[in-house]
């Protein structure tokens, strides 16, 4: 095990375990199913009053669409807590419901050719 960022390491930080409850206003489970790479898009609608973490999440997603892991990394929050916060923002209508967005089929030759062309274009750029 190395000390590199991204290395697998295990910690037990008691106070940290309790903090998420406060951030999610007692919510313990995201109502909207989300994955690590679920994309969070702002809808452009105005929000009501938000907790600081929720406000920051919304601001980040207003700058540009962000994945769940990216928001979690920027906010330094566990992924699950981020999902609960994002879920609340979806309920408020300020983040788009990711379920309404069809996933890209990774087994479609058409899509794979797009990806290949995109990577090729990066190489010559």
């Amino acid at each position: 095990m190395s000390g590199e960022p991204g290395a697998v390491w295990i910690t037990q930080r008691d106070p940290e375990v309790l903090r998420p409850y406060m951030l999610t206003m007692g919510g313990t489970r995201p109502r909207h199913p989300m994955r690590y790479d679920t994309v969070l898009n702002a809808t452009g609608r105005r929000s009501g009053a938000l907790q600081p973490e929720a406000a920051t999440t919304l601001d980040l997603c207003r700058q540009r669409a962000r994945t769940v892991v990216e928001v979690a990394g920027l906010l330094r929050l566990p992924v699950l807590v981020t999902k609960i916060i994002a879920s609340g923002l979806i309920d408020q209508g300020v983040l788009a419901d990711p379920a309404e967005r069809p996933p890209t089929d990774p087994h479609s030759p058409h899509n794979l050719r797009h990806l290949l062309d995109g990577l090729q274009a990066l190489e010559v750029s």
């Binding site: 095990m1 000390g3 590199e4 960022p5 991204g6 290395a7 697998v8 390491w9 295990i10 910690t11 037990q12 008691d14 106070p15 940290e16 375990v17 998420p20 313990t28 489970r29 995201p30 199913p33 989300m34 994955r35 690590y36 790479d37 679920t38 994309v39 452009g44 600081p52 973490e53 920051t56 601001d59 700058q63 540009r64 669409a65 994945t67 892991v69 979690a72 990394g73 920027l74 330094r76 566990p78 992924v79 699950l80 967005r101 996933p103 890209t104 990774p106 087994h107 030759p109 794979l112 797009h114 990806l115 290949l116 062309d117 995109g118 990577l119 090729q120 274009a121 990066l122 190489e123």
Partner: protein, 226 residues
């Protein structure tokens, strides 16, 4: 290194409220990066990513299962794992986003691998020729799942330069699986590995596989899961 415990998100620099909205591209791809300890996973993800390196923590049960409720958090039975991820926006032929995820090295995190690998175009397995067997769990995993993968042979300083053929033999890889050398620190080299993977994934779609294995088996998109 990770976020200092208790770091407040309020320490983040304030964001302009009137920022322009950039919607997500409609097309989203994912490639996962596996390999043994120190094989270069973090380096590869960072080299290809356009976003600043971030490390995200996930809370897991002692068995490595993802928890889906904060009610499940018991400080004696949960562990946290730090994950690498990156994004690269592609603009040709349409705007799309490529998501890159490093798989935590230990195979006791297999349940997390499942979650990360679901819906991926394919996988890169990084190898360190000084510790070749370290990548076996990863190779077995992708073979079992039917996820297309390429083996990237990292050229570490001071390591004996093995031929690609020698690595292929040592890992008992079928000829269809591409093996190529790479320098995970070099953008073009890393990009070459991704291209080899996507080309391979395309070929796997059109070439029949040995009986009992299906390219699109467990990796079939199943929509969003919790």
């Amino acid at each position: 290194m990770s976020a200092p415990p208790g770091a407040s998100p309020r320490e983040l620099s304030p964001l302009p409220r009137s920022a322009v909205e950039i919607p997500a591209p409609d097309v989203q791809f994912k490639i996962v990066i596996g390999g043994g300890f120190g094989a270069g996973k973090t380096t590869l993800v960072r080299c290809l990513s356009e976003i600043a390196p971030l490390s995200t923590e996930e809370i897991l049960t002692a068995e490595g299962e993802q928890i889906d409720s904060l009610d499940g958090i018991d400080r004696k039975t949960t562990t946290t794992v730090a994950m690498d991820f990156g994004i690269r926006t592609l603009t040709v032929p349409v705007r799309s986003a490529l998501h890159l995820f490093g798989l935590p090295g230990q195979d006791r995190f297999r349940l997390l691998w499942d979650d990360l690998a679901l819906g991926a175009v394919g996988a890169v397995v990084l190898t360190d020729t000084r510790r070749l067997p370290d990548c076996f769990p990863c190779i077995d995993y992708f073979e079992d799942r039917g996820t297309p993968f390429v083996v990237a042979v990292n050229q570490f300083d001071g390591a004996h330069r093995h031929s690609v053929q020698a690595v292929r033999q040592a890992l008992e890889l079928p000829t269809r699986v591409p093996v190529q050398t790479c320098d995970a620190r070099d953008f073009r080299s890393a990009l070459g590995v991704l291209r080899a993977l996507v080309l391979h994934a395309l070929q796997e779609l059109t070439t029949p596989l040995p009986a009992g294995r299906s390219a699109a088996g467990p990796d079939q998109p199943t929509g969003m899961l919790p």
